[in-house]
């Protein structure tokens, strides 16, 4: 059978596209490499999850899917999914959304016009988006309502022009959040409760968050965490128009001549190879795997991969680095209240003197004790012995911290290419990740580290510690930028509609389209942009 559309990847972007297309009446084949992932089949493990992947992870990808990571010294390493150099995002139905923290940020209007606002630093790939905040606003509003965001509408409306309130009120502030709110007030900084894709009240026939202490990195035990896995994808399937196949691996996009895609070739869960045909192919495999799939689909007419005539495919890979400052309050402040992240400031996202961009600052999600030990201990505290144990006992109930994503100034040399020496279990070249941060990103990070320090110090801590981020590739769960949108085929991979330049029926619908990645967690923008692109496909009559 021939489908109207094949969507590769049932994550944040692909899941939204599936719902929009299937609800318009299109026959959709939605192909997902991962499996269904819920609390019922989760083995909760504090050492094997998407916040701490010490020995493995709680989702895919499984064995036989290595990548190659090139360090800053040029040394290549074959890496597995739980290794930091892999820059993994969860592979499951819903992509990262079943296990994420669900921070639900809109990008700011200036985030879409970074080059115009700041100029283009030498050696950077900084550019404006071909669309504006106003173009995306209706889709932000729709995603907030249809996937489900709990947020602080009144202060949010002062920062983002918005057409309606959040559908749910914000989550309650933690004791730490109240302390940090008071500290920010003393500094004269405006704060509010971060918007989350987590139910603060019962919503869309699912329960409210219970405030448990095992949140980010794990499936929700009451299904209060809203992702595409429990909203858009079930909606798509419920239309009867969408066939979801899980644990299938797309090998390549098939072409009909040089200007049209005919479908995809994939391997099913039993190892059988299939070809599926469609009028339209939408790739939403995440910034790294989407770029790799286009490269692995090279033909005689597209020798360097589909959409790569201008050598843009795979470039400007970006994510976020985070400065982090931790301090200790004189008295215990830990209240065990999840999701935990409960205070933020967007004061430093833009127009910082001498700095390009900036970032949002917030406190951390509720933190597992083993994560505190591995990542948050100060350098001068011993790692073993009675002092180490006593410090944990003293510090865990007293710590406050401020962190946040730094707007990455894109680096064209941070990129995905193919590694022909290392193959996956199907014999295909794996993704090769190389590059590091643009110097401006490091400068911004150093500036934001100082703001985080000011905030933590203002909270009346007895001591503080932390270090600004170091150079190194940023991608990981916030990976973006490898197939950027643009009006000029010489400097972009797709049109503003997400359509690959020169291939009439091939689209992208994930974070790979992001020209820049904001100083915010990108998932709401990925969903909204996919909604905009798939709505455009429907409106143009596919």
């Amino acid at each position: 059978m021939k489908y109207d559309a094949i969507i590769v990847g049932a994550g944040a972007g692909g899941g939204v596209a599936a719902a929009v297309l299937a609800e318009s009446g299109a026959k959709v084949l939605l192909l997902e490499r991962g499996a269904h992932y819920t609390f019922a089949n989760e083995v909760t493990d504090h050492l094997r999850n998407h916040r701490l992947a010490q020995y493995g992870q709680n989702t895919g990808p499984g064995p036989g899917n290595p990548r190659v990571w090139v360090d800053l010294q040029g040394q290549s390493h074959v890496v597995q999914p739980h290794h930091g150099g892999y820059h993994n995002n969860a592979v499951a139905v819903g992509g990262g959304t079943p296990v994420y923290g669900g921070q639900a940020w809109r990008f700011l209007p200036t985030d879409f016009r970074m080059a115009s606002h700041y100029g283009v630093p030498a050696g950077s790939g900084l550019a404006d988006w071909p669309i504006s905040y106003a173009d995306l606003e209706p889709y932000y509003e729709r995603i907030e309502r249809e996937v489900g965001v709990a947020g602080d509408s009144q202060p949010s409306a002062q920062i983002w022009p918005r057409s309606s309130d959040y559908p749910m009120p914000p989550h309650p502030k933690t004791a730490r959040g109240h302390l940090l709110a008071d500290a920010a007030e003393r500094l004269g900084w405006h704060t509010f409760t971060p918007p989350l894709l987590i139910n603060s009240t019962p919503y869309l026939q699912r329960a409210a968050c219970t405030g448990c202490a095992v949140c980010v990195g794990f499936a929700c035990h009451v299904d209060a965490k809203n992702g595409t896995h429990n909203t858009m994808i079930p909606r798509a399937v419920a239309t009867g128009n969408c066939t979801l196949l899980t644990e299938v691996h797309v090998l390549r996009i098939d072409m009909d001549g040089s200007r049209r895609a005919s479908g995809v070739t994939y391997v099913d869960a039993h190892g059988m190879q299939h070809t599926a045909q469609a009028d339209l192919v939408v790739v939403a495999a995440g910034a790294i795997e989407s770029a790799r799939l286009l490269m692995n689909s090279a033909t005689g007419a597209h020798t360097n991969g589909l959409g790569n005539h201008s050598d843009q495919l795979g470039r400007n890979l970006q994510g976020h680095v985070y400065p982090r400052v931790i301090g200790l309050t004189p008295d215990p402040i830990y209240d065990g209240q999840g999701p935990g992240v409960s205070i933020c400031s967007t004061r430093f996202n833009h127009d910082n003197p001498g700095i390009i961009g900036g970032g949002m600052l917030a406190d951390e999600f509720i933190t597992l004790p083993i994560i505190f030990w591995k990542r948050f201990l100060p350098p001068d505290v011993p790692r073993w012995g009675s002092d180490a144990k006593a410090f944990m006992r003293h510090a865990y109930p007293r710590f406050v911290d401020i962190t946040g994503p730094i707007q990455d100034i894109p680096n064209p040399e941070s990129r995905v290419t193919l590694d022909h020496q290392v193959r996956d279990r199907f014999g295909l070249p794996v993704a090769r990740l190389s590059g590091g941060l643009h110097p401006e990103t490091l400068r911004t990070a150093a500036f934001m580290f100082e703001r985080a320090r000011e905030w933590v110090e203002a909270a009346g801590v007895t001591r503080w510690w932390g270090t600004p981020p170091r150079d190194g590739l940023s991608a990981s769960q916030h990976q973006a930028g490898t197939c950027r949108m643009g009006d000029d085929p010489a400097t972009s991979v797709t049109t503003r509609d997400g359509n690959v330049h020169g291939i009439a029926n091939l689209y992208l619908a994930d974070g790979s389209l992001h020209v820049t990645n904001g100083g915010f967690n990108p998932v709401l923008t990925i969903m909204a942009n996919s909604c905009r692109i798939s709505t455009g496909i429907v409106q143009r009559g596919r």
Partner: protein
């Protein structure tokens, strides 16, 4: 996987790294069992380093105190590990002593602060100490 001497040394190391105070120490919390489990599964690659290090620790105790490592008083054992952490070895080491001790400390922390379902901290004693509960 370890002989009796090696295992006794491991248990003594675990109790140096996570000593008992008002709350249980590492061995009482089952941290040694956790490490055995890791070395048989995801951490199997570390097993040869443990064998080499535990043998070297025994040699250090023999050289310095003429007894088994496991028979050292807690203060002597701790002082010895601190000296080794600073690179002050006397016996022959087939692995880097400070690096092995840092790794063992991390495994002890996993066995003490990670979750009991996966074999860490019997009865969630470390979480009681910190005031942490999963609450779900």
């Amino acid at each position: 996987m370890f002989d009796a001497t090696q295992y006794a040394t491991l248990r003594a190391v675990v109790d140096c790294m996570i000593p008992a105070d008002e709350f249980p120490g590492g061995v009482q919390a089952g941290v040694d069992r956790y490490i055995l489990h890791v070395l048989q599964h995801d951490g199997a690659g570390f097993y040869p380093q443990y064998v080499a290090a535990l043998d070297a620790l025994q040699h250090e105790a023999r050289l310095r105190h003429q007894c088994d490592f496991a028979q050292l008083s807690p203060s002597h054992a701790t002082a010895l590990l601190q000296a080794l952490s600073a690179g002050e070895t006397q016996a022959a080491w087939l692995v880097d002593a400070p690096a092995w001790l840092a790794m063992a400390a991390e495994h002890c922390a996993e066995g003490f602060y990670a979750d009991p379902r996966q074999g860490a901290q019997r009865d969630a004693v470390a979480w009681q100490m910190l005031g942490y509960e999963e609450r779900r």
